[in-house]
Symmetry: C2
Subunit: 283 residues, 2 copies
Amino acid sequence: MNTPLILDGKTLAANIEKDLKVRVQRIKDITNETPVLATIIVGNDPASVTYVKMKGNACTRVGMKSLKIEMPEETSTEELIEKIRELNRDKNVHGILLQHPVPGHIDEMACFNEIDLLKDVDGVNTNTFGRMTMQLDSFKCATPYSIMTILKHYNIQIEGKDVVVIGRSPILGKPVAMMLLNENATVTICHSKTKDLEDIVKRADIVVAAVGKPKFVKAEWIKEGCVLVDAGYNQGNVGDIDLENAIEKCSAYTPVPGGVGPMTINCLISQTVESAERKLGLI
Amino acid sequence: MNTPLILDGKTLAANIEKDLKVRVQRIKDITNETPVLATIIVGNDPASVTYVKMKGNACTRVGMKSLKIEMPEETSTEELIEKIRELNRDKNVHGILLQHPVPGHIDEMACFNEIDLLKDVDGVNTNTFGRMTMQLDSFKCATPYSIMTILKHYNIQIEGKDVVVIGRSPILGKPVAMMLLNENATVTICHSKTKDLEDIVKRADIVVAAVGKPKFVKAEWIKEGCVLVDAGYNQGNVGDIDLENAIEKCSAYTPVPGGVGPMTINCLISQTVESAERKLGLI
């Protein structure tokens, strides 16, 4: 019987946290400063509230501070931009997270693009994306970065592999496709207008599912020995892949929960620590 | 016998030029100003000299001015950046073209990234790429934009098609892949580390070759009815596709020369006119 490798993001994140804790302590010892992640939440979408709380908790665990900014549902784009500019100027803030999604009347991308590149630790500014794609110095979009960190940690070969990314969102499908391309994968990007998705997935050595639809990717579509990366997290604790049935065919998979999710928060925290180290001249 | 559609970029460019001429005249009539494209060439690579001359001639044909800046081979990154900043500040300059490639000791990408987004009419700044990818208002990288303009003009269906892009350069492969994705193609990006390139190309409805190697894509790889876009231009007037032998299998193709090349210059000029119109409040 096939026993696939579990790409355990939770344990990996916990291990990386130990190192981050040491780095944060070093920052404090040398500079007397504490790295700060500013988290902005607009409105009170329950899932977003939970995510922001989890991110705040992660800050606490590594010895960082989080500066929680809660803005009302009716906040305008201009007001949100003003807040971001204030945080850009704030010398005590090393990273800025604007929790996605913001209410529909706000121009989210315009707000993302106001975040100073040096504080864009969630990697959402279009220029952060552009610089990453062109392999210049930049932070990286957190969820795609989480996926890449997991694949590398578990020694999943990427170079020369046929990778199929399902989904093309600005903060997941598009950036992860570019990251995989930069690691020398042959990348196919699929989406709602793709024809014969099943046939395309059947050829993949690695599948990255980022659709946001529960069990959208069927077990029958999976090639024997494929690596499954499930970036989805839907109601009922299920991902975008029918993992339950696909497990016996794959060679490795990210569980849901406990795969991509925990490492995403870890990447956010890790980039905030890096931002602080850079600002304080420690790297 | 199969008679494929010739995706004639030369005639298309000539037709669009007529319209550009009218727009330039309108700018002059209303504002008394003339759109100006600043062209920077560093060193004297013969091909680059020719390209810059062709771009200058295109400016003249539509009634625009070009401001030719020639810098010596030994120019440093800092000196080039200083020149770009000067042009960014110059109110009479509406577009800036830094002819690619610059001498090897110069950090080309750093220079591209100094170009003001509002004057980046060649579309080479990483944030221009990022904004284009995320479908925000932006100029577009000239060669990929040329390809898209040709495909749209000749009513080549893109949505739902399997498109294979061969090449992943910052100013060709990567941006054209994102543009095709935004037009709802299913895009596969191939490169030097791709395995079984032949098999991948054989499945393509549209092939975009941007490798820079003469006749790299073989006729045997082409699916019957495929659309061939050849962005290559190699010594001996040949592209990256063995067009001579592939013509009988394809349904449409961009000739070399006379395909993507002339439209690329046209896109540069067109975006400079647009920049002037915007700056002068005419659009």
